[in-house]
């Protein structure tokens, strides 16, 4: 038997043994009604300032903002002729934002103008998504005590898993592309430019409302795409990495679903977080450049 096979077999054996042991020790428990899954996403006001109250999502937004500004300014200040590893990474990211996202979808004069906006959008959403996968002590519902200090439980949470954050970002994009359209074509010309060329007469009654609705649907689809992706990812990680076991009171189920939880976590961290930021920025660029040109 080869070495790899031995390791694989022992891991599988350990996995099955764990399930059996947990059934033997804890058996089949009772349904747990005190644990509410929605409390994991609850927003408690930590600092009360009326509308500007600081809660969990606001703290995450602050961290993302500081990271976005901080890392970029820090890297830009200490650029070296021979880049180190961090600088190379940031340069790859910069190339992706400039060449792929902005220049790939806009003509050069617009790209030069809109690159800061699209780049900032990408980086902000990217950092928002990524810090959502670091466990931070933000679950103020439950606390534990360490050296006499009450510390909130560590939890995964992302500001983008709250619908208001993607909605505001989508609104900014929505206003931006409408503003570009209005400035380039003028109010009447912009409405005309929404309708595809070659549509005349009675077809206009059918097509025009559809096109106008589809413009507003962009706002909704941008919002839901980002929000639901991140929320669903966090929910699946939560359920697979223990939530399901706690609700149903079956401890062996937690052991059984843990590998799935880890796999989903890696998938979300490696692909979805970056992909959603990329798609949001790309669609923003496509909409803005589309508003400036005729269909």
């Amino acid at each position: 038997m080869s070495n790899t096979r031995k390791i694989m077999l022992s891991i599988a054996g350990f996995y099955v043994l764990g399930i059996v042991l947990l059934i033997v020790i804890f058996g089949f428990g009772h349904k747990n009604n005190t644990f509410q899954i929605q409390n994991e996403f609850k927003l408690d006001n930590w600092v009360n300032l009326g509308v500007f109250s600081i809660n969990r999502a606001v703290v995450y937004l602050f961290i993302a903002t500081i990271l976005t500004i901080g890392t970029m300014v820090w890297i830009a200040r200490r650029m070296h002729q021979r880049p180190n590893r961090v600088q190379t990474g940031v340069e790859v990211l910069f190339g992706l934002m400039r060449d792929n996202i902005t220049r790939g979808n806009m003509d050069d004069s617009m790209a030069a103008r809109w690159f800061p906006f699209i780049g900032a959008l990408f980086l902000f959403i990217w950092f928002c998504n990524l810090i959502g996968y670091i466990p931070l002590p933000t679950n103020s519902e439950e606390t534990f005590t360490l050296f006499g200090v009450h510390i909130p439980d560590f939890a995964l949470y992302a500001a983008t898993a709250n619908i208001s954050v993607p909605l505001v970002l989508a609104l900014v994009v929505f206003i931006a592309f409408n503003w570009v359209g209005l400035r380039v074509h003028g109010p009447i010309g912009y409405v005309k430019s929404l309708i595809p060329a070659g549509v005349h007469g009675p077809m206009l009654i059918l097509i025009a409302p559809l096109e106008i609705i589809s413009t507003f649907m962009r706002l909704i689809s941008l919002t839901i795409r980002l929000f639901a992706n991140i929320l669903a990812g966090h929910l699946i990680i939560l359920f697979m990495a223990g939530g399901l076991a706690v609700i149903l009171g079956l401890s062996f189920l937690g052991w059984f679903t843990m590998p799935i939880g880890i796999a989903v976590y890696l998938f979300e961290l490696g692909l979805v977080a970056t992909l959603q930021a990329f798609i949001f920025a790309t669609l923003g660029a496509i909409y803005i450049s589309g508003a400036a040109t005729h269909h």
């Binding site: 790939g104 839901i224 795409r225 992706n229 992909l275 959603q276 798609i279 790309t282």
Partner: protein, 85 residues
């Protein structure tokens, strides 16, 4: 069909959960088919024109994310029906 679903839901007391189940499940069907088609076509076109690989890869992720979002539209619709009961 809808009446049957409603009566089943009312009798078994799972009406609220049914929304998420149907929304998420049917959303997953559509998104699964779509993602399968996208990656199938990508393999097809890369084997035909390997030199286009980089360009195809970036379009592939765009298509993947747009298709995958359809699953979440279904899921969110289900969640809304769950909240509204």
């Amino acid at each position: 069909m809808l009446a049957t679903i409603r009566s089943v839901a009312a009798s078994s007391g799972v009406g609220a959960g049914l929304g998420i189940g149907i929304g998420g499940g049917l959303g997953a069907v559509g998104a699964g088919v779509g993602i399968g088609i996208i990656f199938g076509k990508v393999i097809e076109s890369v084997t035909r024109q390997p030199e286009m690989r980089d360009e195809i890869t970036s379009i592939q992720w765009l298509g993947f994310a747009l298709t995958e979002a359809c699953f979440f539209y279904g899921l969110v619709a289900g969640l809304i029906s769950y909240v509204l009961k």
